[in-house]
Structures are given as structure tokens and as C-alpha cells.
Amino acid sequence: MDARIGIRNTKSMLFKGLIIFLAFLITLPLIVVLLYIIKQGVTQVNWHFLTHVPTPVGEPGGGIANALVGSLLMVGMASVVSIPVGILTGIYLSENPHTKLAYWSGLCVDVLQGVPSIVIGIVVYLWIVKPLGSFSAIAGSCALAIMMLPIVIRSTEQTLRLLPPSLKEAALSLGVPYHRVIIKVIVPCGFAGILSGIMLSVARIIGETAPLLFTALGNSYLSYAVTKPMESLPHVIYTYATSPYDDWHNLAWGASFILLMFVLILNITTKLITRKWNIQL
């Protein structure tokens, strides 16, 4: 009898050991990748790197100014469209959860979240690039905006649903019109949650390469023209990483480092905001 219990306890301990081992083992690839990118990239980055465009193979120097400008410009344009539309749709979904339209829009958000980014690239190519006859930054930011929408919508919706209904009821009972209740009471109360959703979505799209391949294409010169092809950080990494030249690989490591820093900072800030938000609740 005693031996049986011993076996069962040992089994339990072994299982726990295995679970802990596996659970911590998966942080290993993350740490390895992060450290490698930082090690390779940090030596490349300096002021010159950030303010100059790439040089041809063989010439020393060169930077990623064009990609940096392009990424910020396209993500910025995508945000300008996506954030208001996303927040308003999120408000609609949280305010009218049981209407037919809300059911279909909710379904569409799920669909959009699941669509592979490359398919968004194809669609935006067919919508914008083909009719206009040229790759353009506008098309790129349109693809990014579509990628961004579902994240903003879902985070807005979920944050607003967590708010106690008494808030809205109190404001309405004072005779405040509906739209002012939403804008002056509901949205400010859920501001931290909405903001963290926005930051997560920006972090997500700034690293997207696939939808930009056939929309913004890429451009080895610094360009501000939104109707012309434009370079972006992930695309510059892709082009230079798959090239055969060491100089270009180094450029790509530097660009990866910058991209990684953007993503890490956005994610960590979001974590801090949501933590603060949770405490306030």
C-alpha cells in the first residue's frame, strides 16, 4: 500500500518537473533570438545609420533613413484612419451587443483577425495598386490599416464592456445626451484600455512585411511621396537579409535591431499601462 502511494507521489513530482521544464524551455528561443539581434544590431546603429539612405554594395556607410521614414509615415497614415474607425466600431459593438448588425460585424472582426496578412496584401493590390497602375505608400498604409482594425475594435469593445453600467446610467439620468455620455464619460473611463489596444496594434503592424510586398514595394531612396513606392523597416530587412552581400546583411541586422526596439518598447509600455489600469479597477 505504502509503495503504491510512493509511486503515485513520484509520478506527480516527475510530472510537475516535466511541466516546469517545458514551460521555461520555450523562453529559450525568445531569449536567444533577442540577444542575437541585439548583439548583431547594436554595433550597426549610430546617428549616421539613422540619417542616411543605403549605399550601393561596396561603398561603406549607408543607413536606413528611407525605411525609417517610410515605416513611420505608413504606420502613421494607417493609424489616422484605423484608430477613429476602430474605436467607433468598438463603441457600437459594446453598446449594441444583441443587434443583427453587431453579430455580423463581430463575425467580420473575427474573420479579419484570422485572415493571413499576405491575403490582405493581394486584396489591396487588386483594389489600389492595379487601378492606379503603380505601387504606392497609400496602398501600403491601406493594407496596414485593415490589419490594424480588428485589434483596435476588440480592445475598445472589451474595455468598454468591463465598465459598470451605473456610470452610463448616472450620466443619462442627469439628462446628458447619448453622444456626450459616450464621448465625455464612457470613452475617458476606458481610455487606458483603448490606448493599450492602439499601441498593441501599432506594434503589430510596424513589423508586418507580407502586406507591404505588393503594395508599398520598396524604394532605395528617401521618398515622401505617398503615391510612389516607399521603403519600410520590415521590407528593408527582407530585401537585405536575402541578398548575398555582407554589407547589406549588416544593414539588415541594424534595421532588425531598430524594429525590435520599437516593438519591445510599445509592448512593455502597454503592459505597464494595463497593469496600472487593472489596479484602478
Partner: protein, 304 residues
């Protein structure tokens, strides 16, 4: 004075109506975007469907020069990489779910681990691809030389390894939430009967959360099928299917997403473009259906 007040409330009411209409309009816009995506994909793949018909998915030759399009090799490549990645990732995502859901749900260590797993999903796929190309590929090449297969380095296995890491967070973060939702009365009942912790997890926690964890695996699969950049950089991109099993696993191949990524800008005639769009349409349907099934299971699970 009175009149002014009436005017004010009238304009407020007008604004209220406008605001409500605006909200409804946004909901409609969203539906229109998705319907538009679907219609565009279907419309543009009609030329390819007309010429290739149903043989598209089963025929084995992809030769744009001669206008022959068969997506079978890419279908197999996609399924192979995704399922190998899924198999590799399942033990890890389950382990994380059990550890953070059951053994250690609170505290700084738990938070740290949970945040780092979410960070895995946050790192852009291009960075995984780049790292894989320069670090993992040489390692795999050495291993392949040792075990006596052609040392390609790039190929299905390499892509699957990186993919496995990338998809863990999707199943894991859902699994953690679901395992934490197991009613403690059930677990306490089992403990009271003298069950060990392992037995509680095996016979109470796992059966209770089985469908939910399966939904998490489906979400991971949806990600794996549509993942483009990391796979494109690591899979080797050959249009033909390997003949023996060894080459199928270790050798280069191609997935639907990576074919699109590589060839879309080179598609110089209508038929070629249409064939690629049809690939996108297939990818769209498969990932969307898998995702919706997963989401449906989750909704049902959390509502109960």
C-alpha cells in the same frame, strides 16, 4: 430664454441621431470590407478556376511559363510545415497552460513567464526568419550532415521549427485562461478523495478543458497556415514536390503563402496572377474556417 433652450435640446437631439447613425455606419463599413475582400478574391480567381477547374488543387505541375497551374505541391508543403510545427508546439503550449493555470497562477515569476510568452508573439515574423536564416540554418545543416541526409539547411524542418515557436503563444494564452476557469470545487473534490496533483490534472482539469484547449490549438494552426515571411525565408522555395520521405521532411519545399510572396510581383500575365489569387482564396477560406470554429468553441466554453 425658453426658446433658446428648446433650440439647444433640438440640436443636441440632432447630434444624438447623427452619432447613432455614425456608429451603425461603422459597423456596416466593417462588414463591407470583409465582403469586399471575399468578392475581390473570388472575382479575380475566376479566370484561373475556368481554365484549371477542380484539377487546380490536385494537379502536381506548377509551370507559369507554360501556363500550367497545379497547387498540390504547395498544399502539401503548407499542411506539412503547419502540422509538424503544431505537433512540436503542442507539448510546450500545454505545459505552459498547465504551469501558469494550475501550478503557479500568481506571483512575479508567473507574470514574467506569461509576459515573455506574449512577447514571442510580438516579435515580427521577419525577425524570426532572418535569425533562422543565419543561425538556425547552419546548425540544421550540420545536423543533416551528421545523420546523412542532403545538407540543404533550409527546408520544411527548419521552417517548422521556427513556426512552432511562433505559434505557441496563441494556444498557450488561451489555455492559461481556460485552466484557471476550472471550478475549484471539482479539484478540491478530487483532492479530498486522495488524488495526487498529477491525477487531478489528468482526470479533472484536462477533461474539463479539453475542447477549449483544442480551440487554442486550432487558433495556432490558423496562424501557422497563413504565416508568410519566416516560412518564405526558411523553406527553400522549390515548385516541385520531393519524392521520398526524407527529402519531404529535410529538403526544400514551398507553402501557399510563400509562393504568393515570391511570385506575385513577377506575375506578368492575367492567368498567372489569377492562379496566385486563387491560392490566396484557398488560404483565406481555410484559415477563416479554422479560426471561426476555434472562436465558436471558445464562446461556447466561456458561456457555460
Amino acid at each position: 430664454m425658453k426658446n433658446k433652450r428648446l433650440d439647444l435640446s433640438y440640436s443636441q437631439m440632432k447630434w444624438e441621431t447623427i452619432f447613432r447613425r455614425l456608429l451603425i455606419f461603422m459597423g456596416v463599413v466593417l462588414v463591407l470590407i470583409v465582403v469586399g475582400i471575399l468578392i475581390t478574391l473570388i472575382k479575380e480567381s475566376i479566370p484561373s478556376v475556368k481554365s484549371s477547374g477542380f484539377g487546380y488543387l490536385w494537379s502536381k505541375v506548377w509551370d507559369p511559363v507554360q501556363n500550367i497551374y497545379g497547387a498540390y505541391p504547395f498544399l502539401i508543403g503548407t499542411l506539412l510545415t503547419s502540422f509538424i510545427a503544431l505537433l512540436l508546439s503542442i507539448p510546450f503550449s500545454y505545459a505552459v497552460s498547465i504551469y501558469l493555470g494550475e501550478y503557479n497562477p500568481k506571483g512575479w515569476l508567473s507574470n514574467l513567464l506569461k509576459n515573455s510568452i506574449e512577447l514571442i508573439a510580438a516579435v515580427p515574423s521577419i525577425i524570426y526568419g532572418f535569425w533562422g536564416l543565419f543561425v538556425l540554418v547552419p546548425i540544421i545543416r550540420q545536423i543533416e550532415t551528421k545523420i546523412g541526409v542532403a545538407p540543404y539547411g533550409i527546408g520544411v524542418l527548419t521552417a517548422s521549427l521556427v513556426l512552432a515557436v511562433m505559434i505557441i503563444p496563441y494556444a498557450a494564452s488561451l489555455g492559461i485562461t481556460l485552466i484557471r476557469m476550472v471550478p475549484s470545487a471539482l479539484k478540491e473534490g478530487a483532492y479530498a478523495l486522495g488524488a495526487t496533483r498529477f491525477e487531478v490534472i489528468r482526470s479533472v482539469v484536462m477533461p474539463y478543458t479539453r475542447t477549449g484547449l483544442f480551440a487554442g490549438v486550432l487558433l495556432s494552426l490558423g496562424r501557422a497556415l497563413g504565416e508568410t515571411m519566416a516560412v518564405t525565408m526558411l523553406i527553400g522555395n522549390t515548385p516541385t514536390l520531393a519524392h521520398n520521405f526524407k527529402d519531404l521532411i529535410f529538403g526544400p519545399s514551398n507553402t501557399m503563402a510563400s509562393v504568393i510572396a515570391n511570385e506575385f510581383t513577377e506575375a506578368d500575365h492575367e492567368q498567372y496572377l489569377s492562379a496566385l489569387v486563387e491560392l490566396g482564396l484557398v488560404l483565406f477560406f481555410v484559415t477563416v474556417i479554422i479560426n471561426l470554429i476555434g472562436k465558436r468553441i471558445i464562446t461556447r466554453f466561456t458561456n457555460n
